[in-house]
Amino acid sequence: MNESGFWTRGLFLGFLFCLLLIADVAFGSISIPLSTVLSSLFNPESSTFSDIIWQFRLPKAITCILAGSALATGGLMMQSLFRNPLAGPDVLGLSSGASLAVAIVILIGQSAGVGSILMGNWSVAMAASMGGSIVLLIVIFISRFIKDNTSLLIIGLMISAATSSLVGILQFLSKAEDLQIFLIWSLGSVGSTHWGEVQVLAIITFIGLAIAFFLQKPLNAWLLGENYATNLGVNTSRSRFWIVIATALLTGGVTAFCGPIAFVGLAVPHLIRIFIPTTNHKILLPFVMVAGASLLLFCDMMSNLAGGAQVLPLNAITSLIGAPLVISMVISNKQVRV
């Protein structure tokens, strides 16, 4: 495809993104007229609508944008590093580590009577980031002793499996009420973030995305495999380290504040590769960021609209919308290619 093809599709995606952003703010359990949305955005006076928008809808929409672009970028990096279309941002085991830490806080902390102190967004976020960081440290530590990416992938998957079974044991031993709190967390949510949390998430995401952007050359080189990448002058161990760090920041940040959001990281890179057939990360990265944000905005809107008064769990929606989308696009394009 030529340059102008990229620009047209880029503009189309940008337009779609803006549309979804406004729609996500406007629609929900209470629909707000479009004119009111726009007027209260630019002129934040205190009114019921304005409060809903500024205190609830807007932080939620921005969380969607941050989380969507972070997860999609993490997924793209993992698929390129491992040259595996099934890889997602969670293959390093980070989300499982985060889940285990959160499970410990919610399931054990609650029954030990410290629940009231420990509960609340920040403590869950702290626990999730600590769990994710510990797994990250283990992965980095092990990756110093192994030479190939496949081993790293297997180790990530094994860590996931081990932590998931620990979470399973904890769930088995817990009380029903605690279990439900944990279950709700594990279904993912973008609705519980306030401005303070959004700020922290934004900083983490921007750092992760910036690192990813500076990694476009090694990411391209990794597509040819380690031998060719080395011959092309890419420092493979250093770039692998930074790819792991960037993915960890992106996935870890999102998991800490929104829970383990499924599917977006795996699906968006594939959708984009079908939308713009290129393997160049210089083009893929910005497209994947905007598309990830758009998809999560759309899913969030659907989870608010589909359930009527109830807000449906985000993970159910991401998979329900994402899976048929990917299946249909893959069928019409015959084959998945990284």
């Binding site: 476009q216 040819l224 060719y228 002058g233 290619r337 990284v338």
Partner: protein
Amino acid sequence: MIASRQLAVGYASNGEESALLENLNLQLKEGELVCFMGPNGIGKSTLLRTLAGLQKPLRGELKGIEKGKLSLVLTDRITATNMLVYDLVAYGRYPHLSWNISLRDEDHRIIEEAISLTQIGHLKNKRLYQLSDGQMQLVMIARALAQQTPVMLLDEPTAHLDLNNRVEIMNLLRKLARQERKAILVCTHELDLALQTADWIWLATLNKKVVSGIPEDLVLNGAFDEVFQFKGFDLKTGKVEHEAHRNKPIQLIGEGYPFLWTKNALERCGYEVTANAETIIKIQTEQTTIWQLQDLTLKSVSDLLAALAKK
């Protein structure tokens, strides 16, 4: 360009060294095509990877393998099959690009040059999954050319290709060595092609050494026979050995290609072709080729074989 002294290559694991090839004193010179031959598993790829700096030598010295001097064509498969041919060739410019990989006019010119040298201009806008194995190898060679290195190392670039593609690749490499003054090392199993195109042969022997020399010397001194231990193939004539099981000597009179291929057919079917025998076949090539066996006149080699079998 590349020179090794007492080089040993192989693998070291758990402090234990296992050398595949030892005491190597080899040279790779500019403008020369070197074919590196030897049985499977003897360490050809290991030596190539060591020369390429992808793994460390066990012992010895290696000169001239600084960064950016070598380009590679390996047997590693490219899994990103959605990639454009032009983009893959453009990878050759990566050592010269900064982090944001923007190609300058100069880079585009070098890429186009590599594409035209390998004559893959018609493939430029195709995707890798649309290419045949032979085309893919040409693209990989173009990518290596775009790196503009004085040395090129290729690991079995003609594997899985048909005869036509094998000849095309070897001729291209020979042309690149001559025209572009590159030093080219090719690991290959193509004995007949290597003997006809290589300036120099490296032959990995069974006692962990590498014998080097020009093809003809290695044929005549029996080095090839020793390494490959041919079973029913005579390297000096370039032919498969036949057993004259029919015990029927035949004298064949004729010339040119008809003579060669009639002889081929007779030997293949177990007849012995000698200078003096009772049975005489005459080949006459005027307007059409005919074969005369005593009073019989035959119009094709298969008719001739049938007539012989009846007698």
